[in-house]
Amino acid sequence: MANEILQEHINKDYEFGFTTNIDSDTFAPGLNEQVVTALSKKKNEPEWLLEFRLKAFRHWQTLPEPSNWAHLHYPKIDFQNISYYSAPKVKPELKSLDEVDPELLKTFAKLGISLEEQKRLSGVQSNIAVDAVFDSVSVKTTFRETLSEKGIIFCSFSEAVHEFPDLIKKYMGTVVPYTDNYFAALNSAVYSDGSFCYIPKGVRCPMELSTYFRINATGTGQFERTLIVADEGSYVSYLEGCTAPQRDENQLHAAIVEIIAHKNAEVKYSTVQNWYPGDKNGKGGIFNFVTKRGICLEDNSKISWTQVETGSAITWKYPSVILKGNNSVGEFYSVALTNNMQEADTGTKMIHIGKNTRSTIISKGISAGFSNNSYRGLVQIRKGATNSRNFSQCDSLLMGDKCGAHTFPYIEIKDKTAVVEHEATTSKIGEDQLFYCKQRGIDNEKAIGLIVNGYCKEVLNKLPMEFAVEAQKLLAVSLEGSVG
């Protein structure tokens, strides 16, 4: 009975599935050294960056495509059939918002992102600085001036390459080298843009920084890089959101995010990932192969990942923290929801190297429809990481009998003083819980929303407020017609 009602609710469509008709400048599909060079030229990049790209590309060519170690099934990706550059045709050197293509502004308005620097309604203090990446190119960064007063650098990756080459050279590829994995190598060769953020010593970033990614053009892939450097004693909270139009084809998204936290610094990275998940029959949708990693380079630093994953046909993503500094802290809070034919293999890696390092992993998986949802995580305590501590909790919620929920934790401990705990459970929404709600006049759909939100509360609580509201709605929408 509950199953039927859930079925009804799962059928909701993807609400961000519109396309924007703007002229864009797109490369013909194909990938070779010429394409990489042309891309670099197009972006007017210095020689050293082209070298880096070519090195990455040559390395990528030597790598075999990953065999199916993840619990995912997807058709072979034809890398020659993807266009590696697509940019909205805009006038160079935009001076003000008026010059931005109005179609583009409409798109962002539809997405609910205010590119205009307007103060929020009374009472809400937190303004958010946004860097919007449309297809492959960063379109507009807001609040840049306000931030620069504090010495904070927040701009598109391409700008940073020209304006702050020393910082980019110093940090790019240090956390995720191009040799890291197949998709990281690909990204390093063909990444088109992204965001760069640098918080100077002792500065507490006064607002949330945010990147919004949108794939628009057809036949393209999106390859962006984000690099966040938090210098000594600084703090930043960073948000990332993503959507894509509804298309029958599968589009590839292969990004890299690198975070570096120096002494006493703290970085909080939150993602609401809502790429187009494909239709009910599994047609279309984004293939999301992302390498995200942060390093607590020095003592007392902290990196925290929070993610709400509801989109993508295929999700392959393991935001990780390398706890190198003593007393450093890594956190991972995740809600991953899969519906229809979606498949997700996601989790984290916590590598303890420094002394007294601590990590917490809370992962909540929800699978509905015909989907498969896996948690795959690594907790590694290296020798010498004395008094390290890890706690992991991975819960899965199954809705319906056609889906799967899986847990694959890897726990490797080489230090006797470490204390590591891991627990995982799998269950469904209890009939008694539903009954309790219904008895009190809450209809089935709302009850399910309520229970799921309660189930994810520990994670949603970690999101910045604006995002938490969005995430809750997203969960409700993604589950419509699915729950049993």
């Binding site: 065999s67 170690w69 619990h71 020798k383 899965s396 199954l398 809705m399 319906g400 009998d401 056609k402 889906c403 799967g404 929920a405 899986h406 847990t407 694959f408 934790p409 890897y410 726990i411 490797e412 401990i413 080489k414 230090d415 006797k416 003083t417 470490a418 204390v419 590591v420 705990e421 891991h422 627990e423 995982a424 459970t425 799998t426 269950s427 469904k428 049993g484």
Partner: protein
Amino acid sequence: MIAEKSNTAQLIIDKISSSAEKVNFIDNDQLSKALLYLENKGIPNNKHEDYKYCNIDGIFKKEFRNIEQKLNSVTDVAQYKLKDALTLVVVNGNYSESLSDKLILKGLHLTAFSNLDKEEKKLIGCLANVESDAFIALNTAFSGAGFHLKIADNEQLQMPIHILYVSSANSEALVNPRNVIELGKNAEATIIEEQICIGTGKVFTNFLSEKFVGENAKLTSYTFQNEGANGFSVNTNQVTINRYGKYDNTTVTLSGALVRNNHNVVLAAQNCQAHLNGLFTTRNNQLVDNHTLMDHQMPNCESNELYKGIITDKSTGVFNGKIYVRKDAQKTNAYQSSKNILLSDDATINTKPQLEIYADDVKCSHGTSTGKIDEVAVFYLNARGIGRESAKKLLLNAFAQEVINKIEVDELKEKILNLFENEL
């Protein structure tokens, strides 16, 4: 992931083909499949997901470069016998009638594989798929002998059966013991399988057992491994449980240079139960790897796992447990727990508890924890006049007893307790 090919398998085949007895109880089709699998896939190394923490190819290359198969005969096993059990002795894979007790128990039938009739021979290899694992393939290709132990329908054995597997050689050797244990409808039996390794040579024991638990039957099995520094072993247990059947196993590993246990249990019908318990202690450079699979195929079944490890010196402990719940297996209850204590700076523990679940109305959970000896507890005991060392022993003893107490054969329990205390 397919393991990178290495020539170890070919070397083994070449070295032992000449001395191995001709296998006459498995059809040629299976034999050639097994050999082909071995040649193609090789002996797994750490690139192989199932052997990620147990690089057997590497161990073979290091420890078994000169397999000569100089096997010893064994004349006396009296010291290993249990008083209140019927002892069966298997020496280097061959059942020894002279060393074994008379089969006086009612309802117990033991037949060598080669004496089975055509229908019965079909049981061999029925659970162990030669193309699923290199060691099943290796055993299939070279186990020259083996036996079928059957407990007849409705029979409850009055006495535990103690099967003693003795490996003994004066050179590097590889032995492949194999058996099929079958419990008929409503039958009940307790079977103790003990593995020891005597002699001066290093022996690699590749053991394979297929166990059928019939309808409403109950098999209580104990595996006791104490092979010492010369003993290397891969032990595969393929178990299938029928309706209302119950399978309990407790595996205690006190020594062995390499011990890899593949314990695969299929809950193949409704309302059956499986319980696996394990305790291992490792020291020096030992590696103990417990690999379990609970395959829930049908509804209303229950499984439980508890594995505990104490790891010292430079040794490594591994626990890899998978709970697999198929689409039809609604109302499954499955629990798994792994607890480990590290006692030295160079010790390593790798755990990989997995859940793979395709049915929604289930209760499944796993938990794993690793830590050191609780200093607060040590202090509590110190304050009561118990020295540090004794306090530690006491705590480790308590930690291990949770598993050891599952053993219902008193004589075996005491023997293991004594040996365990000596180990500390």
